[in-house]
Symmetry: C2
Subunit: 237 residues, 2 copies
DNA sequence: TAGTGGTCTAGACCACGGT
DNA sequence: CCGTGGTCTAGACCACTAG
């Protein structure tokens, strides 16, 4: 019944963990493609597909004739690709829950259209404020259908990461995202949270994350105070 | 001496042109992968690699068991991936040059670091204001080294597109981009251009485009008025 | 020159969609 | 059922980097 993870995704996740755990540091080279082939008994096509994924996620870059190098985690936030906050940065990041996961209504604050099927279900909501050091940089609101994640409200997040929780506890992976980006005035309440005056420009990013389960999309509204920590994004073919 | 374009990129560009010219309309299916194999005498690996590129650029989506469908050109701007404005939208778009391409100094308005080699060269600058219908939505400032594009100032743009000009006149392709995104107040002059009051929130996006020529990067500063036309972005693995 | 990534071939089997 | 895309194998040759 459940979908089988393809080989390349196993390798991809394995390498990603190695990088996240610091076993391969920025600037270092990953094992060569041929190494991976031998180690995991796969062909180069599969090895490359795994590394393609890591490139898309911004973890590595290929250097022709040399190898695949782990990329610097920029001190700006490597956000805005697939995946959330905790995966992107690792250092002086702090997260405060303003609202723990609990049942709620589908809000009309959600910027991207919620699918009809999901509207019929009930919905789980949570809200977090993210800091770099002591500076609040991102307010994050999340909605998703409660039909495929039984017991979600009651359990803790794995490593504090929502997406890691999805992956490890429910075997659900994020496979894509659609987003819009706007510049807006901060509302009163947002201003208080960020410690800025009402009317300061804020980045507003509605996102819809798609997952390996068609029944589950994550709808997020992000508000970012970009004066010290701009949002960043890289893309290579 | 010159780099040879790989097969998959030829196919990719061919299909992209077909879509841009409206031979395949949004919602329609492209030829199947097997069709492409026969038509161009290639294997599926190559056909898929070509289509992978189109997916990354947001032109198509794959539907398992069905085919590859041309995606709707959203009436929001499909910008923010690789490639510029004219490639992304096709309809009621207008462009006004505020400053034609001409020699200039490397400005300190450029947000992302200019490489040392490029700093030593002289630089070409141009500035455009982009409209959707009669609404100005984006102010675009561009700098790049003049060493690899002889005669650039004197010639017209191909189809009004800077990137198409690079591709067709100089055989240079954009292969990636790095960008930051900030929300800022509009300055006086920007406010006048957009017909908004000073202090309205604007999206500010410094971008560095990488090309097939290591000597050429395009440094852009975009300012977007997002209240009617937010910037958009999709990503799928 | 040895080892790396970049491209490509010629197959194979599977999962999914629609008839 | 057939045709589609999704994954994978087992090779090959080329272009680039570095000792």
């Amino acid at each position: 019944m459940n979908k089988i993870k393809p080989k390349y995704r196993h390798i991809q996740n394995y390498l990603k963990e190695q990088i996240q755990q610091g076993n391969y540091k920025p600037g270092e080279l990953l094992p060569s493609e041929n190494d991976l082939c031998k180690r995991f008994s796969i062909t180069r096509t599969t090895a490359r597909k795994a590394m393609d994924g890591l490139i898309n996620e911004g973890f590595i870059e290929r250097i022709h004739g040399k190898g695949s190098r782990v990329k610097e985690r920029r001190h700006t936030l490597g956000l805005l690709n697939v995946k959330g906050f905790s995966e992107a940065v690792g250092e002086g990041v702090k997260t405060v829950f303003l609202q723990n996961p609990q049942k709620a209504k589908w809000s009309n604050e959600i910027g991207l259209p919620v699918s009809e099927n999901e509207k019929k279900t009930s919905c789980i909501y949570f809200e977090r404020l993210r800091f770099v050091g002591e500076t609040p940089v991102m307010l994050e609101k999340n909605w998703f259908s409660d039909t495929v994640l039984p017991g979600f409200e009651k359990s803790e997040f794995v490593d504090g990461s929502f997406f890691k929780t999805l992956s490890q506890r429910y075997l659900i992976e994020v496979v894509g995202s659609t987003q819009e980006i706007r510049a807006e005035y901060a509302h009163e309440k947002q201003g208080q949270l960020f410690g800025i005056i009402k009317g300061t420009p804020l980045l507003h990013i509605p996102i819809k994350f798609s997952t390996t389960t068609p029944k589950l999309n994550i709808y997020s509204e992000l508000y970012c105070e970009t004066s010290s920590y701009p949002v960043a994004n890289s893309y290579f073919i």
